[in-house]
Subunit: 424 residues, 2 copies
């Protein structure tokens, strides 16, 4: 019942630097010997202590193994030590796999700390240019028809460190940790707008959080009607405090802070409100001193999670290159991987299901010969947009804009197998 | 920019007892007034304390709100108080939504407690009828090509209480809490079998856990080649201790204990081993005293999570009926819902993505008039199998078999809006 093998070498190459066609792997064309170096055939099995006595009890709300204690979010040191919840905390993508980000590791961004909201006392109002102003208890909201979708949320500032003139010695978590992906469940905003009765003069929805920053954004009414959700659940359970408990917006594909957390009110208005949270930040400053404002959809993007800084290679041989791709425009169409700094490219496999406006995992086998290499990934979305090189991005907008940075990410691999952030 | 409305009544009916066509809802055909009873239009917004002072800090590994402390697994009291980790602990589906079960709430089943395994010391062996016996460290395993899939795992004993002659006064968690769904990521077992080189005489894989019970099952080799995964990750992060840390099998669609946790060895053998874990339990005892053995795939199934016991109705009006469906044979093709104990049925909407061998969320609007009702769901899978009534299931196999119970579940709603488990 074994599958046929074509050869015993390392199989068909897909591009330079040792990139291998993934189909060959799953059709058995790589032969049996290529992975053997990573198995320890001669070692006898021992019976460890944990097999010889009854194990521990059930825990009502489970936690990770104590051996995984290093797998945590990492927060940027706060500008003001008196407000440690003002800033951001990042997902450790280099230590994860799959497309779902577990709730405990979903990135956090807060402008006024994380409020501890009593859902019995919290209210959501819909008012302004409507026929019937409405105020909802959380219990009332939970009674409405809901829908679920797996979607990424990305802070508009993710990748901003790539705007630094010199490549920082930091890891994937520091550079790309402000994007995460979860299954969000909530009430389509369109149902609530229907109930309130939108005045024809309304063109925008002002969304405001109940945090002490009153974080607020103006959302175009068309998007509110389209696919915006008023969310109560994240990966099955009620949303976590740092992600907006008890209720937040999901504005699929739009920059993170439009997905307003701790949602308190939605005011229908004729014009954008020009809040501090859409002017002091979340605009793209050009070299000319002008800014791009209201740049909502997240651009096509990707990065390699493994190998990456801190997750290096242990000697020459076969590895899997794996990473994440996403686009606010819809589905990822393809991801290419280079092991020679962009000279040649191979198609990576995309992990099913490939969902619109969700993280997509890509994978490609790679035989590392032990020499220096520069790994890159380049994604294309279903709208046909392709990630630019860093040079092309800078040529377009200069180095001052630290938002919506979606250029190709480069990891240099040295002879020891260690990875470093470089500009290539 | 509002959408057209057809009428101001409660829209087209889809079946008896107030079941409503979901498309009407999203096309605006229900009108604006139907939900208004659940909004509190006159209440003024107040500014609560949490909006007036900086919120809390970032937490490296996040936790739920303290207001959600009731959302936990519930363990069956252990038969022997000295071994509190022997038994099962169930997912609170009545308090969740979506298709993903968060890792902290994924059901647990353990036969010898939950071992606390050091991944540095744990090994996985592949031996028996192979050309090259192999022993893997976890670090070596993590180097192999991986794949991810969203899949349910269900204990073969889930729903066993429906075999009781009298309907128990218990909730959905107690009856159906031994099924959960996660994104699992791991190495296809086929790659490891290729590397070991399977002897043509092998027809089965004996899989053994490192727990003190040495929980073990015989898996047909064909399934091992097909879609079985050696998993390291669950919903993005490393598998939790109670779900097999550091490594477990995923045998998609097959009964839970074949998805061996704390996986220690895979021995290729010619015949099934007839372990205690596939004879003393996980067989279906017929009235004749004979058993059905090696009943692997989970049959088509479903239940309603909301409303359900403990999640009742607060006065007459419009609600969403929501629940979960699944089948070990592949995708769910359709779910029908009845509000009159099976006399009439309406098609529920299936939440995208509908994935093979994964939980599928279904939803249907319902106008409750305030009288007694009996809610049921009936799912059909892509193989054409349909859930039987409880009476039909008993006619086939009697009342002694407490495994693979997939009959239609009934919740009686009383005049107060409270739900109870009944046989209808």
């Amino acid at each position: 019942m074994s599958r046929p093998r074509i050869s015993n070498d390392d199989g068909p190459r897909a591009a330079g630097g040792g990139l291998i066609d993934r189909r060959a792997l799953f059709e058995g064309a790589l032969g049996a010997a290529v992975f053997a170096a990573s198995a320890v055939a001669a070692e006898p099995l021992v019976v460890p202590d944990w097999s010889m006595a009854p194990g521990g009890p059930f825990i009502p709300y489970g936690q990770p193994s104590k051996f995984e204690s290093r797998v945590t979010r990492v927060a940027t040191p706060p500008a003001n030590p008196a407000t440690p919840g003002v800033g951001a905390s990042r997902t450790p993508h280099h230590l994860l796999d799959g497309m779902i980000t577990p709730n405990s590791l979903h990135f956090e961004r807060a402008h006024g700390g994380i409020p501890d909201i009593d859902p019995e006392r919290h209210r959501l109002a819909i008012h302004g240019l409507v026929k019937r102003p409405l105020v909802f208890t959380m219990e009332a909201l939970a009674r409405y028809p809901m829908t679920s979708r797996i979607a990424f949320i990305e802070c508009g500032g993710n990748g901003g460190s790539l705007s630094q003139p010199v490549a920082q010695k930091v890891d994937a978590q520091a550079i790309r940790g402000l994007v995460s992906c979860a299954e969000w469940t909530g009430v389509p905003l369109s149902i609530l707008l229907d109930e309130a009765g939108v005045d024809p003069a309304a063109a925008w929805v002002y969304a405001e959080g109940a945090d002490s920053a009153g974080m607020s954004r103006s959302i175009p009414l068309k998007k509110a009607w389209d696919d915006t959700l008023v969310c109560l659940y994240q990966n099955g359970e009620r949303i976590r405090p740092s992600n907006g408990y008890p209720v937040r917006l999901l504005v699929p594909g739009f920059e993170g802070n439009m997905n307003v957390k701790w949602l308190r009110r939605l005011k229908l208005v004729a014009d954008p409100v020009i809040t501090k949270d859409e002017t002091s930040k979340y605009t793209i400053l050009l070299d000319s001193g002008k800014t791009w404002n209201f740049v909502w959809p997240i651009e096509v993007n990707s990065f390699i999670t493994r190998p990456s800084p801190g997750v290096g290679l242990k000697g020459p041989g076969l590895y899997e290159i794996s990473g994440l791709a996403w686009s606010g425009a819809g589905r990822i169409r393809s991801v290419e991987v280079s092991a020679d700094g962009g000279k040649s490219w191979a198609q990576a496999a995309l992990q099913d299901p490939v969902l619109p406006k969700a993280l997509t995992r890509f994978r490609l086998p790679w035989k590392w010969e032990g020499g220096p290499a520069v790994l890159q990934s380049r994604s294309t979305d279903e709208a046909g947009s392709v990630q630019p090189t860093r040079a092309a991005m800078i040529a377009e907008r200069g180095l001052r804009g630290q938002f919506h940075v979606n250029c190709i990410q480069s990891w240099a691999i040295d002879e020891k197998g260690e990875a470093a952030n470089v500009y290539a």
